[in-house]
Every structure is written in structure tokens, then in C-alpha cells.
């Protein structure tokens, strides 16, 4: 039945339940997007300036380096996710569920600490004087003091590691759950057909969780390009060694609050938005996410 008529009044079923949510959706979801687009194409007085803000943003000497940083970061970040998250999920799947559950829980714990707390912990981890990993720091990064750990060349990898540390656990749980939706009969059939564990993992399981891997990459790509917390906090701790415009989002923040140039800031935000969407489209088309057969 499409509607309930009470005393002649026809109320579309379900609509009143969605009503309280709508103002929030509009005010904090839709309106800011439109507002950001508006700001990006106008000047401080509100007049239309076409792509002028985008050009000005690009001309800033910090613009290109910021995007270079984020490019390396995103590649490392997504690569680590793809390889380690999927790999660990595969390793955990299929045997000894008790042990597997314990490991999943351990991997998951850092997820509670996302954001500032996680970064602070890693600041300690990167300080060779107190870190339990000081051996690694000295030999892998060649660092004997904190300032050397956070040398500019290391930053993309460090940030990727921190982000991975907090996010991996959650995604491993999701991938594990996805692997659990594969009917066990398929695996048995493959094993009877003579497939070894590697073959089963790469040719059977992996393609079947393609959809979930794509979701993970899409969401992570978008959040990755918008990196802010990690570089900002490291910057506070580094006594100026790390610039406060390392990532594009930081640059946008500085443009808005140091130079009060909201239009250029919005232009950068729109750039990031477009990159996120582009990444989503690319990943969707390459993974065949919406193919009918699934």
C-alpha cells in the first residue's frame, strides 16, 4: 500500500521518519558542497571569476610540492592496504578460528586510537631515544635522533604507516567477513580439483571479494588525499622542520585562516573533491564494481 489515509489526509509512508534527518543532510552535507563550489568560482566580493582561484592556488609555490607529497603518500597508502590488508585477511581465513579471532582483535585495537592520539604514539615510536623500534629506526631510516626520523624524504612513508596502523584492523575485519560469504563448497571443490592454498587464495577467493576491495580503495583514496591530522600534528612537534603546508588540505587551511583567502582555500578543496571522485570512477571501472553478474 502506498499511503495511509487518516481522516482524508494522505501521508506518504515513511516520509515523516526521514524528516528530522533532512535538515542535517542539507546543512552539513549538501549546502557545504554547493557553498564550496560557489566560493571556488567567486572572489571575496562574491563576483564570478571563473577559474581564477584555481590558477592562483596553482601558482602558489607550495601547491605542487603538496600534491607531490600526497601522490606518493596515496600510492604507498593504497598499496599497503591492498597487499597487507587482503594478505592478512587471507592468512587469517580458513583455519583455527579461535587463533584467527585473537589476531583479528589485536590488529583491530589501534583502530580505537585514530587521529591525534595515534600520531602522538608514533611520535614516540619515531624517537630513537625512547622507541622500542630504535634498532629499526637506526638501520632502516638511518636516524639517531627524532629530527632525522622525520626527514622530508621519510614523511610520506611515515604518514602512510600511521594511517595503516589505525585503519588496517577495521578493513581486515571487513575483508574477513567478505571472505566468509564465500560458500565453503567452492573451496572444497577447488581443493578436490587439485588447487593448492596459493591458487585458491589468488584465483578463487580474491576475485570473489573484488567488490569489497574496491570499496576499501575508494574510501581510502578519498580520505588519503585529504590527509591533515598526521602532518599537522607532526608539524607541531617538529619545531618547524616539517612545513605547515605539507599536504594540500593543510595548504587550504592556511589559505583560509592565515591569509583569510577562503576562495583559494575552496578551490583547493574542490580540487581534492574532484580527485576523490575521479579515483572512485577509475576504481569502479577498473574493478567492474557494478557489473551485473555480481
Amino acid at each position: 500500500m502506498e499511503a495511509t489515509r487518516t481522516r482524508g489526509l494522505r501521508v506518504p509512508r515513511g516520509a515523516p521518519f526521514v524528516l528530522p534527518y533532512l535538515p542535517f543532510l542539507i546543512v552539513f552535507g549538501i549546502a557545504p558542497t554547493i557553498y564550496a563550489l560557489d566560493l571556488a568560482f567567486t572572489n571575496a566580493g562574491g563576483g564570478w571569476v571563473g577559474f581564477h582561484n584555481f590558477v592562483r592556488a596553482y601558482d602558489d609555490f607550495r601547491f605542487v610540492p603538496a600534491f607531490k607529497h600526497i601522490l606518493i603518500y596515496t600510492i604507498v597508502w593504497l598499496g599497503a592496504l591492498m597487499v597487507f590488508v587482503v594478505g592478512l585477511a587471507l592468512l587469517l581465513h580458513g583455519r583455527a578460528t579461535r587463533v584467527s579471532a585473537t589476531y583479528r582483535f589485536l590488529f583491530y585495537i589501534p583502530g580505537a586510537l585514530a587521529g591525534a592520539a595515534a600520531v602522538v604514539i608514533w611520535l614516540f615510536m619515531l624517537d630513537p631515544t625512547v622507541s622500542p623500534g630504535s634498532f629499526l629506526l637506526r638501520h632502516v631510516l638511518g636516524a639517531s635522533i627524532f629530527a632525522q626520523s622525520i626527514a622530508p624524504g621519510n614523511l610520506p612513508y611515515i604518514f602512510a604507516m600511521i594511517a595503516f596502523w589505525t585503519a588496517a584492523g577495521g578493513w581486515i575485519v571487513v575483508m574477513y567477513g567478505a571472505l566468509n560469504t564465500i560458500p565453503p563448497d567452492l573451496e572444497e571443490a577447488a581443493r578436490i580439483d587439485g588447487a593448492g592454498p596459493f591458487t585458491i587464495a589468488f584465483r578463487l577467493k580474491l576475485p570473489l571479494i573484488r567488490k569489497w576491495i574496491a570499496y576499501m580503495l575508494i574510501l581510502s583514496f578519498a580520505t588519503g588525499t585529504q590527509l591533515f591530522v598526521e602532518p599537522e600534528i607532526v608539524q607541531h612537534a617538529s619545531f618547524g622542520l616539517v612545513p605547515d603546508t605539507w599536504s594540500p588540505n593543510q595548504l587550504a587551511y592556511q589559505q583560509a585562516f592565515r591569509y583569510a583567502d577562503f576562495n583559494v582555500a575552496a578551490a583547493i578543496a574542490v580540487d581534492l573533491l574532484l580527485i576523490g571522485l575521479l579515483g572512485a570512477v577509475l576504481i569502479v571501472s577498473r574493478s567492474g564494481l557494478f557489473r551485473a553478474e555480481d
Binding site: 500500500m1 502506498e2 499511503a3 495511509t4 489515509r5 487518516t6 482524508g8
Partner: protein, 399 residues
């Protein structure tokens, strides 16, 4: 308690499909009316329109004397039993049954009284504190019934409540439901696709097809005097055999020619079918119920009409022998026949129909269990010429 009536009630969807087309049906107060037909015939739609779960596109539905178009379900004073039972998983059996009464703010003492009585009638007393997920299918069905009974509504609406039960349980529940309805005397509309349920439970049965009412009558009438080919073929199992035949007049009496066999009709029979003369020399669909066919060797009088055929398959039921055989005649090939085969899932018959006109027709007969016929034999089959049915080839209407 009240009757329910449909007056030219229709359900039209956005794309123009008419799920229900101008239904005119009056259900008397206290009557047990069964709506039966293949899936998609509109029976569930009609039921839901009475419940208020489907909008009424055209026409009027009345409960008692009240027009209920536009009234929400909660204001209609009807109770419904769903095919999946739709029990509230988070409530105990007791609370499931008491739910509607709590909503209507019936006093606690009254609720207790009514729930206890419903539980007694349905044998649910030991289960009152349990949750639905720990109950068997039959128990859940009874809880769904309890939920309806306790409401003391103007009408019970039941949507295929027995289809999820196994066969033995279904037989038991059929009798239970019929008894309860008889005891309580509440107007009941019962939807099913199983014609055995329809025949055994209803005071009257309404056969529906593609949104249209075909015939409404008591079960015996429906069986003996189907108004059209669809009803004739739908009611009765095994289904009525439909054959292509011709009506001929010879020496002042009527004969039905089917294949190479001539079946003469006596005067009483002809008097029962006055419309037959219009078909003189023309084609007609001949309907023969399986029980009107018998092994000629056991049939008795030696000069009745005989069909000659080939025995294909025998199914021994113990009380009778179902004999599948073919004769040299054409089967009736019409939309009704096709639809009935589809509904039963008879792929073999559908395949044969698709092949086009054929020289041999497959029939089913209910023979005496004493028959000696074996598969593959040539046989002679006696036909009870008093029990033949005739239908118009184009309109499907009974003649």
C-alpha cells in the same frame, strides 16, 4: 461480525496492469469464502484490499455496511493470518497474541481472559512464554491464528496460511481451522492456490484468473457444473481431460465425435445442455473427468461408448489406479489449457502443446484398483456419457 462485499473493485498499477478487474463478490456474514486460483490471479490482491494493505484503485469494498476505501488497516476491525505468519520475533507467544489488545488499551484482566481462551482453543498453553524462533512451523501457525482469534474481529483474512507446512500437518490444520471458524462463526476470506484446500474448507469457493472472477459457488456446484473451461480444468485432481471434439446430429440424436469414436448422448443429457444444438456440425471442447473413465473390462454394461487407446503409465494408489493413456484424438489446445499446465508446472504437456496439433491426446483415468491393465497394452476405456462436459472452443464457456 459482518459480511464483506466487493463492488466493481479493481486494482490498477502505474503501468496499466489490472491486477484485479471489477470484482463483484458478496461474502455473507459468518461465511467461509475461499479465493482460489493460480499465482497472479489477483486473489491475494483482493484480500489485501479488504485488509487495507492495498489501495483500491476503482470501485468499493465494504465491511458490513461500511465503505472502507481509504480507511487505514487499524480502523477496519479485521484480523489477518499471513503466509509467513509474521510473528513478532522479539515478543513471547503470549505477547504476540496480546499485542493488538494492548494497542487498543483493552483492560489487563480482559486481555488475560481472551489470551488464555485462545491458547486453550489452539493448544498453546504450554508455550506461552516462548519466543517464535523456538517454535515449530505448526506451533507458529497456531500462534498466528491465536493472534487473529483474540481480536474478535468482523472478519478473518487468511493468506495461504498452510502453504509452509508439511502435508500431514496441513491436513490436520485444515480441519482445525474449519472447526474454529465454524465455532466462532466469524466471516472468513481464505486465499489459497491449492484447490483441495478450497474444496474441503469453503462454504463457497471463488475461482479467479488473471484478475477476473470466473465463478463463485459451493464446492459441489463448482465441481459438477463449472461455468467455463478454466474452472473445469482447475478444480479437481487429477485435472479434467480436455479433448478436441465435434458435435454431430444423426438420426435425431446428438453424437460427440472424438477421434474415431462416436459417443451418443441420451435425451436427459441433451436436455441438460440446451446450447448444444448451436454447435451442430461444429467443433467443441469435450471435458471428461478421470472418474468418468474406467477399464472397459470392469465397466459392466457392454454397449456403452468405448475409447480405444494405449496405456502409458499406471500409478497404483491402493484405493484406485490412475491410468495415463493416449487415444487417437486431438487434445484441446487453448489458452486455458496452456495456463493450467503452466500453473501445475507440467512441462511435458506444455511441450506437447507447443508442438501444435497432434494426432494423439493424453488422458488420465481413475480406474478400479482391480484392473489388470499393464503399461504398453492396447486398452479399451469405458466413458460415462452422462458425466461429460462441453465448452466453447473460443470463449471457453460451458455449453
Amino acid at each position: 461480525m459482518a459480511g464483506v462485499s466487493f463492488e466493481a473493485a479493481s486494482k490498477v498499477y502505474g503501468d496499466g496492469t489490472r491486477a484485479l478487474d471489477k470484482l463483484d463478490l458478496t461474502i455473507e456474514d459468518g461465511e467461509f469464502m475461499v479465493l482460489v486460483g493460480p499465482s497472479g490471479c489477483g486473489k491475494t490482491t483482493a484480500l489485501r484490499m479488504v485488509a487495507g494493505l492495498e489501495e483500491i484503485s476503482e470501485g468499493v469494498v465494504k465491511i458490513g455496511d461500511r465503505v472502507v476505501n481509504g480507511l487505514s488497516p487499524k480502523n477496519r476491525d479485521i484480523a489477518m493470518v499471513f503466509q509467513s505468519y509474521a510473528l513478532y520475533p522479539h515478543l513471547s507467544v503470549h505477547d504476540n497474541i496480546a499485542f493488538a489488545l494492548k494497542i487498543k488499551k483493552v483492560p489487563k484482566a480482559e486481555i488475560r481472559r481472551r489470551v488464555d481462551e485462545a491458547a486453550r482453543i489452539l493448544d498453546l498453553e504450554p508455550h506461552l512464554k516462548r519466543k517464535p524462533r523456538s517454535l515449530s512451523g505448526g506451533q507458529r501457525q497456531r500462534v498466528a491464528m491465536g493472534r487473529a482469534i483474540v481480536r474478535q474481529p468482523q472478519a478473518f483474512l487468511m493468506d495461504e496460511p498452510l502453504s509452509n507446512l508439511d502435508a500431514k500437518l496441513r491436513v490436520q490444520m485444515r480441519a482445525d481451522i474449519k472447526k474454529i471458524q465454524g465455532d466462532l462463526g466469524v466471516t472468513t476470506i481464505y486465499v489459497t492456490h491449492d484447490q483441495v484446500e478450497a474444496m474441503t474448507m469453503g462454504h463457497r469457493v471463488a475461482v479467479m484468473r488473471k484478475g477476473e472472477l470466473q465463478q463463485v459457488a459451493d464446492p459441489i456446484e463448482l465441481y459438477n457444473r463449472p461455468l467455463n473451461m478454466f474452472v473445469g480444468g482447475f478444480i479437481g485432481s487429477p485435472a479434467m481431460n480436455m479433448l478436441d471434439a465435434r458435435v454431430e446430429r444423426r438420426n435425431g440424436s446428438f453424437e460427440i465425435v472424438v477421434g474415431d469414436v462416436r459417443i451418443p448422448l441420451d435425451e436427459t443429457k441433451v436436455a441438460q445442455h440446451p446450447g448444444l444444438s448451436a454447435y451442430k456440425g461444429g467443433r467443441i471442447v469435450l471435458g471428461i473427468r478421470p472418474e468418468s473413465l474406467e477399464d472397459a473390462a470392469l465397466a459392466g454394461e457392454g454397449n456403452g461408448p468405448r475409447l480405444r487407446g494405449q496405456a502409458e503409465l499406471r500409478e497404483a494408489l491402493g484405493s484406485e489406479m490412475l491410468m495415463h493413456f493416449t487415444i487417437a484424438a486431438s487434445p484441446a489446445v487453448t489458452n486455458e489449457v496452456r495456463e493450467l499446465a503452466e500453473d501445475v508446472g507440467d512441462d511435458r504437456a506444455l511441450g506437447q502443446l507447443a508442438e501444435g496439433p497432434s494426432a494423439r491426446a493424453s488422458l488420465v483415468g481413475r480406474f478400479s484398483p482391480q484392473t489388470q491393465i499393464r503399461e504398453g497394452e492396447s486398452i479399451e476405456v469405458a466413458v460415462d456419457a452422462r458425466a461429460l462436459h462441453f465448452f466453447d472452443v473460443d470463449s471457453g464457456l460451458a455449453v
